[in-house]
Symmetry: C2
Subunit: 269 residues, 2 copies
DNA sequence: TGTATATTGTCCGTTCAACGGACAAACCGA
DNA sequence: TCGGTTTGTCCGTTGAACGGACAATATACA
């Protein structure tokens, strides 16, 4: 799609220097002037670009935000995790996932079930996991900022989900959190299992010191104990969590206009 | 540009339901399935979209932020101001502008010089205005949040611009701010004039109670006094400022995914 | 005032990229 | 096992996009 590609190139170029003339865009992108006119026209029809009357320069409008407004922060971390999980599944044979907090529960955002030889059941993405029983939820709660944890537990108390009722037992919660923290990773509770024959353990993804996601590993219970799995794979799991966190911190630090990308500003000639 | 338009439509549709299949996009947009494939391919080549392996759904990636990351907040308010200034110049014959704070000074972002019969000099957009002498700067300083004002004045003290030296006279600053506040609008100082025969007065644009921009009006000094201009046009100026502010508050309130737009999600059939 | 250069805007004949009908394959619930 | 739904790809046709070319305007300098 030639013209569509060029539109994206021009849109990107406009982001790099807000306020540009046709000729400047031509030089920045290598796209012919005539084509730039056509592209700016269509962008203008959509309201993403306006022409500043006084200076005759083209500017982005606030509407461009709509081109990315649907992209949520939880997506971001999942997005970054994809290639890292891909590598992880080659070292650790068991399927691993990435889950984030949302709406009083953890949700599986990415999964390597399907690429793991030990896949138990199908599609897990989108699966909801209770906070206090799942390994993901426990890992997250144990390492998220204190005010966030308090708020979550407060919310769980008014939940009508059966699993969330234990939120009313502060000593139980405290025991779980303490155990998780002393171990450095969380285990799932027997009362919640996606599949009867499997067990799960999880590590938190610590961005700037606090959990923003969990990285659960699911294995077949008859094959090994949690301790054995941990001994074999915990360092790999934690390295992956660290790598995801590093990428996140790195991305957040940047202003966002940078280079190292797939997108050619200049057209291949 | 047919294919480019369709790409934008699909991109927007993806924002409205993050995670979509080809068929869903087909239904949402009315674009043929084959075309959706082509579009998603090009979006994928640019890294804006990825396919979630487990669910076979297409998702936006964090890269989409780059399509709007160049759009700054100061642009936003200028952007919104354009049509409002356009209407204002029809009521008030004198040229009006919109200026925002940046880099220790006010900058003219939009202007109706050129549409006003009384245009004095050409292109004013991009013009830098000193904080303590220009009407724009005074209006802004008088109504911005206290910590911001203190920080700005602190910065001005270490500026090497001659105009900014008065930042060292706190009683002078205080007198100006008090006068501006009691009036409700600011006047420019004789020591700074873009054009010798003109004078300027300005009102702040108060978003959530604090100045985010200024709305200056420039008139020919021999034609009227500041008081006369104020009497005739102040209510119109302030109404325009209010309208800009309202739009800003409104936009900030929204999550950003809304409807009332120029962009057809469904193709005209 | 005239000449040279840079920039903007539009026309229009050519061509190839985009189009969608059509078909095959996979999937799913009954 | 069988319809219905969804996914993916092929390929002949066509018109949208392409860019060369020219006109118009602005700016600089002699």
């Amino acid at each position: 799609m030639r013209s569509a590609e060029r539109l994206l190139i021009v849109l990107r170029a406009l982001n790099l220097r807000n306020g540009a003339t046709v000729l400047e865009l031509n030089r920045d992108t290598g796209i012919s002037r005539q084509a730039i006119y056509r592209i700016l026209d269509t962008l203008r029809n959509f309201g993403y670009v306006r022409r500043q009357e006084a200076t005759d320069r083209f500017h982005l409008t606030h509407m461009v935000r709509r081109l990315s407004s649907g992209f949520k922060d939880e997506e971001w971390i999942a997005d970054i995790a994809v290639p890292i999980l891909g590598r992880l599944v080659q070292e650790v044979v068991w399927p691993t996932e990435l889950s984030t907090f949302s709406d009083n529960a953890m949700y599986i955002r990415e999964s390597t079930r399907g690429r793991s030889p030990f896949t138990i059941d199908r599609v897990a993405v989108g699966q909801r996991l209770p906070m206090l029983q799942s390994a993901s939820g426990r890992a997250y709660l144990s390492y998220c900022p204190d005010p966030e944890r308090e708020a979550i537990i407060e919310n769980l108390k008014s939940s009508d989900d059966d699993f969330d009722q234990v939120a009313h037992k502060p000593d139980y919660i405290e025991r779980i959190l303490a155990a998780t923290r002393s171990r450095g990773w969380a285990v799932g509770d027997d009362s919640f299992r996606l599949h009867p024959k499997t067990e799960t353990l999880a590590v938190p993804v610590l961005v700037n010191g606090y959990a923003r996601a969990s990285l659960p590993l699911t294995y077949i219970a008859s094959a090994a104990t949690a301790e054995q799995i941990a001994e074999r794979h915990m360092s790999q799991l934690q390295a992956a969590a660290k790598e995801i966190a590093d990428r996140m911190e790195e991305m957040q630090a940047r202003t966002d206009d940078d280079d190292d990308d797939l997108i050619p500003i200049r057209e291949a000639s």
